[in-house]
Symmetry: C2
Subunit: 347 residues, 2 copies
């Protein structure tokens, strides 16, 4: 089969590799229908996190079950399935607490030569990991929405939920990347916040934020951003989602949090060297790390997709066939695309 | 009257100053029966935070109402009252949300020549600030407990509450100062946690922690402290109270937090220059700043004191008359006392 392989900074290639096979009784083999490139993939693509040449890439995919191990009970060959961005066993304390990213048997895609930007994937703990979604294959936009739910939509939603957002409340989302945009969509359409303020610097993305339900959009490059936000919210927002992950965005998030509020950060922070703790202390604000257990939200979010409540598919603004995966990475690296969807041709 | 005045590092003096008078219709004048020296007073005492010579000291006191302004409705001359460590109006959004430390009209004792280590204090917003406590004057231990509730007991309790501690759960309290000890007492006796692990390095204080209900005490100087805690809790505690406020204690708190848990820090952090954010992110842990709105807890905690459920008075291990206040500061500075109670002689 074909799979995407990392060779070095700005060098990923689609190559022919051995087909995956069942190794454990809990495994399933999934033929990938659509895969995505993630903003977090750019960390290794740019050489900032160190990967080994030969590593397989991709952790966002949906597909069709091709084969299952002898212990698998919940999916069977032919089922359309959604995978979250890590696998989890579904049985441990943390899975039961909807914290599948802390599953004691959690595995990352890419480990064990098993990336998602490929024609097929071996899925460990298939019963705990995969969610059947019959019917999504009839509409390409629903396939794209399902793919968003693997990671960015589930992550944006987790940020909003863990920031304590409430129907009728106010949510500030800092960052206009795919996760930030999905946070806006979750706050406005899933949670029903009354005021959703998107902070970013790309006019096209902020326009998409408005389409997703943002009531206000603020330019993050304006030196008065914090003051503007404090005025709009009359003293800060109870729920702030930080979806950038650098020093400036974290400081802004803490500055515009209302006393008693929550700042949830949904990405790995990079180069945050001196987080100011006094605003947290003086304002009784909680800073919550939020690596999203997207597995926990797949059923709910897909129900909203299928009934038309949400449509996160516009975060994919570039569609390419799998054999042009390298172009997709370059487009995201150069910020020409928010997020790339790859069509493997598998049906 | 006599009041404590700051002159410089390690130089506080009891001096004769003008009696306080009613300035606003919401004011009350309280004759101080007992006052305390706080661990946080050591920051200016040691010259680490900059104060002006002539500033008045002390923010923990209980006393008897002597006079009230024309707007005051809830207290009257002769009432025994407890004051939290800041004043608050009792009417704003944040007071209604039990976040009185964020009150829009909040004032600090010491501002406007109005410190609590004195024979009398002018109390702004008396209706919002003071809590009547009839009967406490009949027992010196209850007077001491009431004084603890002004700050350290309310602060320890707030840390435990905001760390999400639950009856039957596990709480780790890092720090064996007065606040940490009160956190242990709150977790064990007020919340009813099943396992309360106190971390400190002073054998006498850890013994007091056991008396307050700690099920385990851990030496913080042991290089294996984190490992020991992770083993005792089988992977971390859902509720961690950080009551030291330096780099090592914050790192330890984050390391021993269970996935999905909360670390609440109850003191102003000093010299925390590089907080590791990855454990917060990967474990979905919340770091919650917790400047305690002790006003919110006075009634509940005093009910527990009056019915004998809790007795925080042993945190005061040195009692002095007010005219020996300078000795009290020195004893705390030199770690000869956990906490000093000052008797003004007012009855």
């Amino acid at each position: 089969m074909k799979a995407t392989v990392y060779y070095g900074a700005r060098d990923v290639r689609l190559e022919t590799v051995p087909d995956p096979t069942i190794k454990e009784p809990g495994d399933a083999i999934v033929r990938v229908v659509r895969a995505a490139i993630c903003g977090s993939d750019l960390w290794f693509y740019r050489g900032i996190t160190q990967w080994e040449p030969g590593d397989r890439t991709g952790h966002e995919f949906i597909g069709i079950v091709d084969a299952v191990g002898s212990d698998v009970r919940t999916v069977k060959p032919g089922d359309y399935v959604i995978a979250p961005f890590v696998s989890s066993d579904g049985t441990c304390e943390y899975c039961h607490a909807a914290l599948q990213t802390s599953c004691v048997r959690m595995t990352n895609w890419g480990d064990d030569a098993n990336g998602g930007q490929a024609e097929a994937v071996r899925v460990p703990h298939a019963d705990g990991t995969l969610v059947k979604m019959p019917g999504m294959e009839r509409d390409p936009a629903k396939l794209a929405s399902a793919l968003a739910i693997c990671d960015v939509m589930g992550t944006g939603h987790h940020g909003v939920v863990t920031a304590g957002a409430k129907a009728g409340g106010t949510v500030v989302v800092i960052g206009d990347g795919a996760v930030g945009l999905c946070g806006v969509l979750s706050a406005a359409r899933v949670i029903g916040a009354e005021r959703v303020i998107a902070v970013g610097h790309n006019p096209k993305r902020l326009e998409l934020a408005r389409g997703f339900g943002a009531t206000d959009t603020i330019d993050s490059h304006d030196p008065n951003t914090a003051q503007t936000l404090l005025e709009l919210t009359r003293g800060g927002a109870s729920s702030v989602v930080e979806a950038v992950g650098n020093q400036e965005s974290m400081e802004l998030a803490l500055e515009v949090a209302r006393p008693g509020g929550i700042v949830s950060f949904v990405g790995v922070p990079h180069n945050v060297t001196n987080l100011p703790l006094r605003p947290l202390f003086a304002k009784n604000v909680a800073l919550r790390g939020a690596l999203a257990p997207t597995r926990a939200y797949i059923e709910t979010l897909m129900r909203h997709v299928m009934d038309g409540t949400i449509d996160p598919s516009p975060v994919f603004d570039l569609a390419l066939p799998l054999d042009r995966v390298a172009e997709g990475y370059a487009a995201m690296d150069e910020r020409r695309a928010i997020k790339v969807i790859l069509d493997t041709g598998v049906r």
